[in-house]
Symmetry: C2
Subunit: 477 residues, 2 copies
């Protein structure tokens, strides 16, 4: 741990982010421009995210598979919008085994095309549908401005790709996965995302409609945190995914894709963190509890350590670490684990041993408000309850912050003012020109048209035309 103080969020949020990612050893810059190394603490967080999502995918009938990293350039060109969207970002393999390739291969930026080509081979009849496959892997997009987790040349994600017999089924799947992402964000990460539809300008290249979960960071900027795309028959037509229906007629399938990436780690950091560092949600935290033994000499140590060992065993259902590093003060350790965002700290000193108590310190409530002295009796159950409460408190705090920073501007001038430091939730006529004007004049984009709408209608915040849907405008990562 560096001894220099972390910059505060209010003085420089961006620098706070960069420093906390590295100091907490979540990730580091790689020697290749724009690439990151996800360090063990960051990867353990990602493994917990993977496990929470994978469980949900499997419970809804999905299976995992693996498709190739390298895709023939010609595949991307089969879907017109897709290639336009992705070609500026491609990494291209031109040589293999010492020879120039006849056709260049791209390192996958996403896998609709290669998976589409396999589905066209596998799908013959309506009995082969639906196909519900997910893949955990890495993709590469040649981004120019990169930041650890938020935007890197290579990132890690899952990408689901499904094929269905009907449009209804595919749309239902698209929304099912959006709901799974929302459920995951709220109930595992305590990130109060807003699920909604992307505008046509903001959708995925090749989709009919894209859906998103949008989160508000503590600088009020929006972070797109997961997306689910209804692809219609665009990729089925490009790759000839066709099936014989029950009346023996050849039909194109309907497909979806949906993904959530290591970017979500950025969402967790920037939704919950404070000036002391990370605050990790208990259900995903690599370390849920840290025990810091406190003693001044060997006599005290010999009193304290046996109790620490006993409690460590009693608490083995939790992801727990005992910080028995020598030559570091308890105060240093407290700061260190606070910086790393461990949800709960247990302190045990000689007095606790005598009294049969421990001190518990909640990361989400710094200072005395978050500290309690409790009996060692039944400690596991007390801690289980406390972690549930920490999750709920983190979600409540983030939701309150989000709602306090969503505004309902009365006119376009007010919209321009509020998006400088918050989100606007406004009527929008759906015209791309209005959206483009806001983007040009304020840098705020439409984030999503939420699934939950107030109903009724109102004047478009930009042009005044009558509108039937409200949209979030915000500056985004």
């Amino acid at each position: 741990m560096s001894d220099e103080k972390l910059p505060s969020q209010s003085e420089n949020f961006s620098e706070w982010y960069n420093q906390i990612v590295q100091r907490a050893e979540l990730a580091d810059y790689a020697p290749v421009r724009g690439c990151m190394v996800v360090r063990p603490y960051g990867w353990a967080l990602w493994e917990n995210i993977q496990s929470a999502l994978d469980r949900r995918f499997k419970a809804t009938g999905h299976v995992n598979a693996a498709f190739p990293l390298l895709i023939p350039m010609s595949f991307l060109q089969k879907e017109k919008e897709h290639v336009e969207g992705f070609s500026p970002e491609l990494a291209v393999v031109t040589h293999g085994g010492g020879e120039e390739l006849e056709e260049p291969l791209v390192v996958r930026p996403t896998s609709e095309t290669i998976i589409g080509s396999m589905y066209s081979k596998w799908v013959k009849s309506y009995r082969d549908l639906p196909i519900l496959i997910n893949q955990w892997g890495n993709v590469v997009r040649w981004e120019m401005r990169t930041r650890l987790f938020l935007r890197t040349l290579e990132f890690y994600w899952q990408e689901g790709h499904t094929a269905h017999a009907t449009a209804d089924e595919a749309l239902e799947e698209t929304i099912r996965m959006l709901n799974i992402y929302t459920d995951f964000a709220l109930n595992e990460a305590a990130v109060p995302v807003i699920p909604g539809r992307k505008s046509q300008a903001e959708k995925f290249a090749g989709a009919v409609n894209s859906y998103t979960i949008e989160a508000m960071m503590r600088d009020t900027r929006a972070l797109q945190s997961g997306t689910s795309h209804f692809l219609g028959q665009n990729f089925a037509k490009a790759f000839e995914i066709r099936y014989l229906d029950p009346s023996n007629e050849l039909q194109y399938a309907w497909t979806t894709s949906w993904g959530l990436s290591t970017r979500f780690i950025g969402a967790i950091i920037m939704t919950h963190g404070d000036d002391q560092g990370l605050i990790l949600p208990p259900r995903l935290a690599p370390i849920q509890l840290v025990i810091v033994p406190i003693f001044r000499d060997d006599a005290e140590k010999s009193q304290v350590m046996p109790v620490v060992e006993r409690l460590k065993n009693e608490l083995s259902a939790f992801r727990l670490k005992v910080d028995d590093r020598e030559n570091l003060t308890p105060g240093y350790k407290f700061n260190d684990w606070e910086m790393r965002g461990v949800p709960l700290r247990i302190e045990i000193g000689p007095k606790d041993v005598q009294k049969g108590t421990v001190a518990l310190a909640r990361r989400d409530r710094p200072g005395k408000a978050g500290k309690a002295f409790v009996s060692q009796e039944n400690l596991a159950a007390q801690i289980a309850d406390l972690l549930v409460d920490i999750h709920a408190s983190m979600l409540a705090r983030a939701t309150a912050y989000r709602d306090a920073n969503i505004h309902d501007p009365q006119d376009y001038e007010e919209l321009k003012a509020v998006v400088a430091n918050g989100w606007a939730f406004s009527w929008w006529c759906g015209n791309p020109a209005c959206e483009a004007k806001v983007k040009e004049e304020t840098k705020a984009t439409t984030r999503c048209i939420p699934l939950e709408q107030p109903g009724g209608s109102g004047p478009c915040i930009v042009c005044g035309e009558q509108a039937t849907e409200k949209v979030y405008f915000a500056r985004a990562y």
Copy 2:
């Protein structure tokens, strides 16, 4: 399932392998030459392999992380033997984001170099050691002759990379991981591997010594199934991984690397399979039990299905599938699941319902020998025992086959004869010329110098010089 008969192992082992991989839907060819798609059934097998290994890695203090896919070409050139070994196999990215790169990037064939560069940044003092990191990921090697799982352009693996303060610690780690691979192979996959040291000619490019687990396939050819490398200070010197020792002197670290890949799926297929198809080891099988309900009409169906449902619930601790597909005969289903290697089949018909029994059919003992009628009482416990027995029987069968095909030729002429259809276990003087002669004249290579040696000495099977170690010669995949 195709209705054509699978070729028998004895008539065409290679064709048997190719067909079973595709028919059982473990993997498929991708549209890019030499690349594979690992299908859901194959990937579920790999996930179980991952989980069995990952548990062992974590129990021995290792943590996971992720390092970049793309490596500057100059990094590979820093270790002379390493670049010589790998440059013929590289896939090279020359363009990114629409522009030619100043320095080409290679798609990692293995990650010693990029990880070495990060360790040099992270390691300052002896207190930073050891570093015990593993990575699950994909690598690309531009192979010319490819086969699904055994040798593909892209494959999936784990690669462990550790750094230590002393040679002894690094060597101890190298052997620890070799032992973990051996334990995994025997106790999870029922593959009786032989652990040993590679010759200098067969070692990893850049290692001081490589260790391997070698398995015998049912055509008697050897398959290198996992490797663990003692890298000495070769990579530490190439990448300046240095630390201050307790007396404040700068020292180079000692490093290791070790890996096991999707190739191991090939080892499982070719160690256990028979003319009917796959035989999967119960601890790794994606489906451990299949229940096939048997009925001729709706009346029988309404008797049978409630019992099937009840047993399905009672057996929920197993990875279980109920095959309730309509319009397929029980016989077809039996063949289908036998081909897919499910270790145990449960048949339930109306008579079983009346008698309170089920029929159990073991995949590893085809025909009547493997069939038993047992009470539905306490079925979960009976099946748990049976799966243990199936594992043990599979291991015993494979071990017997292996040992029956290892020979002790008395002279060089006999060696030439035995390696045509088996392994030779012979004294070898260690001279690369003797090894090269065998390879040239018989296509057999030295597979490993096993850790367990008979002791004493004998004449080199090639040149007659006195030798102190015995080695396995075999033709290999």
